[in-house]
């Protein structure tokens, strides 16, 4: 893809890309390479000498049961966030698509949580679940559930999943609604004339045609759950009880900045980078496919 007509200048294009390049080099490539470099070093307790240790930091991670636990926590967390978030948003989008005239109003009423910072979302939800003034914890107590997210790790996980899903619904909703509105009405009308019930029309026509949107959102939601939910975890549970809600990003932060394990934190960063690269490649391959389609 190139323009037929181009400007000619030996220096101007360099000046134009210079600011972006400078930032990219100083704040992206240099730190990323430092992360890789630090991940093969170890520092003594006083930070006075460093030593090359090869893959020892990664080996340590591999043998570190809390790290593997954190991996499992993150996997569970992202599956729950993506699953619940997509299901609820799809339901709402299908309903909004049904009521064409009012769809715009519902859209306005549903999109604003996108603007709420993750940490604020965490604070709002922790307030509703805290005792004694929390409204939801009170409601749960009246049906016999003793809510305590500070001690019960299932409760803590539920809390951060609910807050994360709440914040992400608006995003999923917008994309599902756009996807639904681009499905040709003629297909649905033809199916209706053939006598297909609304439910059957949904599962045999709408849902398959929506699958590119669903897959795209799935990847985006997993990325969101992995990286953008730090604020929610930090505000709602601080990774607790114990380390039961410490997702990978939280652990990188905690180990690097609180526990001061630079090498271990860098090794974790490298693992995270590999995950992002894999997710991004997945996303782009999907987009390529869609262009062909």
């Amino acid at each position: 893809m190139e323009k037929r007509v181009l400007f000619k200048s030996a220096w101007l294009p360099w000046v134009l890309v210079a600011p972006q390049m400078l930032i990219v080099l100083v704040f992206f490539f240099w730190p990323a390479s430092q992360a890789v470099y630090q991940s093969v070093l170890t520092e003594d307790a006083f930070g006075t000498s460093t030593e090359f240790v090869g893959l020892l930091n990664f080996e340590r991670l591999w043998n570190d049961s809390t790290y593997l636990e954190s991996f499992k926590t993150t996997a569970l967390f992202s599956v729950l966030v993506a699953g619940c978030g997509l299901a609820i948003a799809l339901l709402l989008a299908v309903m909004a698509n049904d009521v064409i005239r009012a769809a715009g109003t519902y859209k306005t009423l549903l999109i604003w949580p996108y603007a709420v910072a993750p940490v604020v979302a965490g604070v709002l939800w922790v307030f509703m679940f805290s005792s004694p003034m929390g409204v939801i914890s009170f409601a749960l107590q009246s049906v016999g559930v003793e809510w305590n997210h500070l001690l019960n790790s299932t409760h803590a996980m539920t809390l951060i999943v609910v807050a994360a899903v709440w914040k992400q619904i608006s995003y999923n909703f917008l994309f599902f609604l756009a996807g639904l509105q681009s499905i040709p009405k003629s297909l649905l009308e033809a199916a209706a004339i053939d006598g297909a019930s609304p439910a059957r029309r949904f599962w045999t026509i709408v849902f398959p045609l929506l699958s590119p949107t669903t897959f795209f959102l799935l990847v985006i939601n997993v990325i969101y759950a992995f990286f953008d939910t730090f604020g929610i975890v930090d505000a709602a549970t601080q990774g607790g009880p114990g380390k039961d809600t410490a997702i990978l990003v939280y652990k990188v932060y905690f180990d690097g900045f609180k526990a001061m394990d630079i090498g271990g934190s860098a090794a974790q960063s490298v693992v995270l980078m590999v995950i992002v690269v894999a997710l991004t490649v997945l996303q782009f391959r999907f987009i390529e496919k869609k262009v062909n389609y």
């Binding site: 890309v17 430092q34 519902y106 990003v249 690097g256």
Partner: protein, 284 residues
């Protein structure tokens, strides 16, 4: 509408209204809590759902700081909101400017290593700040940018998505415009300023909304690079309100939370058209 189904239609409305209510419920509770006094909240089991009459004093405490009747002191949120505003504006406008310039260079010029430059910008997509916090913090600290607007904003300004968006858009601009501009003897920058920039207005508006929210809601990065209270953005201030005190003063926390979400929520709702366009364009 394919067939008339009044019952199903009613059902759809019911589900949507329930959805809107559930989504809005935390916000409503936050507003209610911010209008009650601390004593009221502390004594409630659960929180009363009817707004109280202490809104004015709670918001005054949250905005300007001070001491409440129980002797807890609060830092003022107003300067923190100013920090958030400056940070969000610098990030949004900075991203737009440097992305416009580099997309212009990539589309309208041929220069050696163009492929490499494009690739280098592209790869930053795969390095979100969360995965390289440690070393990036070290760089910013070495450059003496801790506790400064530069440290809060510049490391977040590079943008692969914005560069792509403008590149895609520039590729659709008819070549005849460049030919005409060149025939009239316009310099490249003149063409950029007088032709390309006015044509890009909608894309710029859409990107601004998305990036403003991104900048305003940054949490992890400010948490690392600011240790000075004067440089805390407001979302960081909220977290400190619930962590710092032995007893959380929820009314002030909720008032601050409302203040923190008001500007980005207003931007989303008032610029809804650009917001939706921005979301769809940057992701696809």
């Amino acid at each position: 509408m394919i067939e008339r189904r009044p019952v199903a239609n009613f059902f759809s409305h019911a589900v949507l209204i329930l959805g809107v209510a559930i989504v809005a419920f935390p916000l409503y509770l936050a507003i209610v809590a911010s209008t009650q006094s601390q004593e009221q909240i502390a004594a409630s089991n659960p929180l009363s759902l009817i707004p109280g009459s202490h809104a004015l004093e709670t918001y005054r405490l949250a905005l300007f700081g001070g001491q409440n009747s129980r002797g807890s002191t609060f830092p003022p949120a107003l300067p923190m909101m100013w920090v958030s505003l400056v940070t969000a504006m610098v990030i949004a406008i900075g991203k737009i400017i440097i992305s416009l310039l580099s997309a212009f260079a990539i589309v309208y010029f041929r220069f050696p290593a163009k492929g490499l430059v494009f690739w280098m910008i592209f790869v930053t997509l795969m390095l979100p700040v969360e995965v390289r916090i440690g070393p990036t913090y070290a760089v910013v600290s070495d450059l003496g940018m801790l506790n400064s607007y530069a440290g809060l904003t510049i490391p977040l300004i590079a943008s692969a998505t914005a560069t792509f968006l403008f590149r895609q858009f520039f590729l659709t601009v008819p070549d005849e415009l460049v030919e005409a501009a060149r025939m009239d003897g316009a310099s490249p920058m003149r063409f950029f300023w007088d032709v390309l920039l006015p044509l890009s207005k909608t894309s710029i508006a859409a990107l601004f909304v998305i990036q403003f929210i991104y900048g305003w809601n940054q949490y992890l990065w400010p948490l690392l690079v600011t240790t000075n209270e004067n440089m805390y953005p407001v979302v960081l201030g909220i977290k400190r309100l619930i962590a710092g005190e032995a007893y959380t003063e929820w009314n002030v926390v909720m008032a601050t939370a409302i203040l923190a979400m008001l500007p980005p929520a207003l931007v989303v709702i008032l610029m809804q058209k650009w917001f939706v366009k921005g979301l769809v364009d940057t992701e696809k």
